[in-house]
Symmetry: C2
């Protein structure tokens, strides 16, 4: 199972340059590195083992944080009766155009159509209502890892697919203050996940009323700037207020015996994040994976001829043993040349390659090549463990710093609409501009520049400014960008 081969060079088919056509590069690198593939169903994809291993690392990291908070995993049905979805007005309006609907079950036409969940608020909260009577039964702290469906006609691998995998946390509290603490805690988990595991720089903020989740009081978001200058919404955490408890008529008795509506929140991150990871770090030769999330952190490529094959392989295995605490693979495939293997593992973005030939064997050394910088060093095997540890740490840190610098360099403080239009047409990136918070200006800007409000960054201090579109009074600089 490997990617397409160029029949002339017998090496992996060259992928298009990232700088030349980032969208084409993105697709080619995913297919060639075997992260994923198109499924024979419109809008759907297959996540192959190499791509799924990334999702497993994300799950592992986040699940630990979730459990530490006392939130517990559960599982609710994939089907939601149509009538449930209709209980919260904004919610059903937001999701209606994207639904997949089951009309036949067990050979019979169903009396009530079932929606394949696009998100689980309505089905979960029907049960929350059943399970609780008093304030003692709160908080409810539940999360689920599952699949959801939001209909798409065209597949954009990872970033836009009809079915995707995610986690959805749904908590309920007696007090609004507590609920808001959970909302911000979840947002902070996502930030940590991106910064620490995925070496990605993010902006956290709140969404405008137009861009918030259908049914939320306020949506908090993770915004990520990606090469090509477009933004990805990397995860969201919603303060639902009492919107859903009221829609479901869900009350409980508080400490004074009074019936009150609980405050709720929901928060999710999906396999879309992997699309961001690919775009943020990759280069013309393929993926670049940060060591902490890389399914394979180090690949050993032995270089031998028939007469020294056995000894080189023996030595390579010895080297592998020294660094076995890392995720190491040794590539012994017989039908591929060393050059082919180098390209193959470069496309796959393995952070560190160890080359082992006759010279290395005789001098008891190893040649190390960094994927991100192509820096080569030769190191004695006595020092190898330390060197590898340092290199992997450096790669992780430097990838984050590089993405941070990229984001900063492509964030433009803009004070007039002509600059705004110019930047969105040419350079793209994040624009920081005053906006009066009138949805009409927001709509016009979107129509004329394709840029949407991404967020009002957290901890923004109020200033005196004029809306970049209409000139009216504005309190804050919002972040605008074109979106994936």
């Amino acid at each position: 199972m490997h990617g397409e081969i160029d029949e002339n060079t017998n090496r992996p088919k060259k992928i298009i340059k990232k700088s030349q056509d980032i969208s084409q590069w993105y697709t080619e690198v995913i297919i060639q590195s075997e992260l994923a593939d198109y499924a024979p169903i419109k809008g759907c994809m297959v996540i192959r083992p190499y791509g799924y291993a990334l999702w497993e690392k994300i799950q592992e990291y986040l699940d630990r944080l979730i459990k530490k908070r006392g939130v517990k995993n559960a599982y609710f049905p994939i089907f939601i009766p149509e009538s449930f979805l209709k209980k919260e007005k904004e919610h059903v309006e937001g999701f209606s155009p994207e639904l997949a609907i089951v009309t036949i079950g067990g050979g019979q036409k169903l009396k009530e159509h079932l929606v394949v969940r696009p998100t689980s608020e309505t089905i979960m909260y029907a049960l929350y209502k059943k399970w609780t009577r008093s304030w003692r039964d709160l908080p409810i702290l539940i999360n689920q890892w599952n699949n959801v469906v939001r209909w798409e006609k065209r597949t954009y691998l990872f970033l836009r697919t009809s079915e995707f995998l995610w986690q959805e946390g749904h908590c309920a509290h007696l007090e609004h203050k507590e609920s808001l603490q959970t909302v911000l805690w979840a947002l902070n988990c996502y930030k940590k996940l991106y910064n620490d595991l995925m070496a990605m720089y993010v902006i956290t903020g709140t969404k405008s009323n137009t861009e918030k989740f259908a049914g939320a009081k306020k949506t908090f978001t993770i915004e990520i700037l990606l090469p090509g200058g477009k933004a990805l919404q990397g995860g969201t955490s919603h303060d639902l207020g009492q919107n859903f408890s009221k829609a479901f008529g869900w009350t409980i008795q508080d400490q004074n015996g009074k019936n009150v509506y609980p405050y709720q929140n929901s928060w999710g991150i999906s396999t879309r994040s992997i699309g961001g990871l690919i775009l943020a770090h990759g280069d013309d030769s393929g993926l670049i994976l940060p060591p902490k999330i890389a399914p394979v952190q180090i690949v050993i490529v032995p270089i031998y001829k028939n007469d020294n094959k056995e000894k080189i392989i023996e030595y390579s295995n010895k080297v592998k043993d020294i660094i076995k605490k890392y995720r190491v693979e040794i590539d012994l495939r017989e039908d591929e040349t060393a050059g082919y293997k180098f390209s193959k593992w470069e496309i796959k973005g393995v952070p560190l390659r160890l080359e082992i030939g006759e010279k290395e064997r005789l001098t008891k050394t190893v040649t190390l090549v960094r994927r991100d910088t192509y820096e080569r060093t030769t190191e004695s095997i006595i020092k190898l463990k330390n060197t590898v540890s340092k290199l992997l740490k450096n790669i992780q840190t430097e990838l984050f710093e590089r993405h941070k610098k990229f984001t900063e360099q492509n964030t433009h403080v803009v004070n007039n609409y002509s600059d705004f239009k110019d930047i969105m047409k040419n350079k793209k990136g994040f624009i920081k501009a005053f906006w009066c918070e009138n949805p009409i200006c927001e709509k016009k800007i979107k129509e004329e520049t394709k840029a949407t409000t991404r967020c009002l960054p957290i901890n923004s201090t109020e200033e005196r400014g004029k809306c970049v579109y209409c000139g009216s009074h504005a309190k804050n600089r919002w972040i605008f960008a074109q979106s994936y």
Copy 2:
């Protein structure tokens, strides 16, 4: 969030006795212990955190074995085009009556209906074909953890639900021999899982042609006898031969450049297994969970009055700290009496209860109560760690031995059909009887006694016998039972 309360006693509502009505007991114990609940969709259930924690333990145990074998996790779409399912004739016939079908997507009627996967052979193998060219691309070793839908009208919590969670492994090999090794390896993993983690005794064997998986050459099965005398199919591993590769026209080049059809297998275990766990060990007071799978292994119940509350809680926390390597909970709920708490944790099946009152505090001891035997011991906290370790080990072993003994005592060697009918009418259990392997006898036996062939046990030695139904020549004793 706790189960129903008896308003007279203010204690958890008494569940019906297991011996009185096992089916009613089963449902009541699941609801009251908060393992799961009915969903407001026909045939569906909600797995609550306490139940999902059991599934997480199963996943953790099995995923480690799966990865150790080199099988990797991936994810394939939930939707399968109807035409795909039709490619393997027996397969589509087997699954057709159970399908949930999406006919509307994104607001439009779909040209081709999409089936919500009942299993993923057809969608996965279409991709396997795309990904491979030669013998070097084999074996393919892929597993997925996901949800599947097989339409049910009535819900039987865990045991029979329209949607369930499972893993499905799908491997492809060049040689039949290798494929069969994988089939048997998977079967053995399931056996280990039941024996070791779930303290359940199982029989492994092969299914009859009537009972095998739709599209398989041979199905290997895990059969479990449960109180009430019915059998549960606890997991299956299928040798698919070349049935699917032929149906899909999937060939690859072997070492000699010849086009050959790969040999395939698939194997799965689901959340049904949790139904088996509940039935196998529980008693009149509720669940009994084996320590290795119990989400809470030890519960500490402090018993205090207003004047010694602080000191008792302090001492209880100290005790908790001593045994923190286990999954321990300390129950500090203020609105429940100690007696209520005892019943609550008994229903939840926590293996070990630690009672801590004034006497224990003053003598630096703890009173331990086993859930399975109600045996009480008092132990000094100096020896507590050792005692707990021993007790948990003993409970795990003794639960297995008890279930093994139960199975053996309810396995009847039968040589004539009148005994057969009599046992199936009264005692139930496993029957070992000669069967000529003619599906007509199998069908008649099923019609007349509700018993189906469960399996031909692995390593059965051939004997000379006469079919218990028709008297014809028979080589082996098969296991018969009524089934869940």
